[in-house]
Symmetry: C2
Subunit: 255 residues, 2 copies
């Protein structure tokens, strides 16, 4: 790990250029700069940010993050794929992150640098996430009564001419039933999506499954004779864990 505190501009430039060389070579170092800077962005939109103290991260995959002392999202950033470049501009250190597609550039000019840091971050682990919409779909497919008594599922994730829908099958009477699944509160958008699927079919029913359904969405569903059902994740999560364990999906106990 390389570390420099309160470097002057020339020292910082040397450090950054050396580190960027290593970063490009795939040695996988993360580069960090803390200091007083101003930022400009031009690309899908454009922005300027006047002087202030920020934390800047450059990842070996070409990700740039500029964080202030608040909020989860960076104030400025560049997604993976950017090329970094450091230079001196009128005595100040200028750091650019250029991304060709879409063409966009973030430029940081440092008025003062408090800290330079370069360190490796080796990580072979994958995130094991439980509770995605896909999980929910799977559980509903395996436990169709959670959708509706007598529901017989047939397919998941079918492409239809009007778009995708999540699940379909036959209800207790043998009538076609389209199921729209949402892992969080369902809004008008999801209700509209279901409506769109169902109206394009002949005499099919539609049902929206979500932990909660927003008032406007309910109104829309009701006015188009669509059903909905709220379910509790607390009822679902154990089933997913059980399924994963049974299926040897390799979710180890965390400890």
């Amino acid at each position: 790990m390389h570390l420099v505190r309160d470097p002057d501009a020339e020292t910082a430039l040397t450090f950054l250029q050396e580190s960027l060389k290593g970063l490009q070579d795939g040695r996988g170092q993360v580069l960090q700069v803390v200091g007083d800077c101003r930022v400009s962005y031009q690309g899908r939109a454009q922005s300027t940010l006047l002087r202030g103290e920020r934390l800047v991260l450059l990842k070996p995959d070409g990700t740039l993050l500029i964080h202030t002392s608040a909020k989860a999202k960076p104030i400025n950033w560049q997604p993976p794929g950017a090329q970094f470049h450091a230079a001196l501009e009128e005595g100040e250190v200028a750091l650019t992150a250029y991304r060709p597609k879409p063409e966009e550039m973030v430029k940081i000019v440092f008025h003062r640098i408090d800290l330079l840091l370069a360190f490796p971050l080796h990580d072979a682990a994958d995130l094991a996430l439980i509770g995605s919409e896909d999980d929910l779909q799977r559980i509903l497919f395996e436990n169709p009564d959670l959708v509706e008594a007598g529901f017989v599922p047939q397919r998941r994730e079918r492409d239809s001419k009007r778009g995708f829908y999540d699940l379909d099958g036959r209800d207790a009477t043998g009538r076609r039933l389209i199921v729209e699944v949402k892992r969080t509160t369902a809004g008008v958008q999801e209700a509209q999506q279901l409506w769109r699927y169902v109206e394009g079919l002949d005499s099919a029913r539609g049902i929206l499954i979500a932990p909660s359904v927003a008032p406007k969405a309910r109104a829309l569903l009701a006015s188009h004779n669509l059903s909905w059902k709220e379910l509790d994740w607390n009822e679902i999560l154990p089933r997913i864990e059980h399924m994963r364990r049974g299926g040897q999906t390799g979710l180890e106990r965390y400890g």
Copy 2:
């Protein structure tokens, strides 16, 4: 700025607890830990992440970020509002971030700590962004010919029973025209939204304005007699800058 390299667990714990005290008191220090850790999350969903080297940031507003060496998004996180706590667990440093609403918790257990860092990030600057959908709407309102020759805009951002639409007015023949605006490529969803607005009205036309319109969206628009127009941001951005400058919106030149 406080900095410790390769601390043992007890040193790290003391550092973290001291720093967290300051962080809670509103002194506004950002706390950073680099090291080998495992992470678990439980809340809106749940996840586990086995050992690996990561960069952990704790912001004074209660934001937690856990970054690996790739991607723009953190592998785990907590949005603003979390309460941090540090403790020893079987000789290892455990850091938790608890958020009451929605109730969720991230727990990090460090097997090894390479770096501890606490530093202030003072920042009074606001991001000046050009190119939002709101900007686009405003420009279309002020330059209605960009929508369609002879268009006379009347209202922006009206709430309708079917949702919101962006702009409406009268076309050259006096017929009502609903305008849907998107700052990026418009897809089926946006076309669908416009269709829903327009079909609920009597003899109104609809037009979708976006930098590009996806094929499926075009098909849907065409089949429902809706119009669309692709516009170039390069044509719009200068107008916005001009408008802002004229309107004294205070977007200074960056330099």
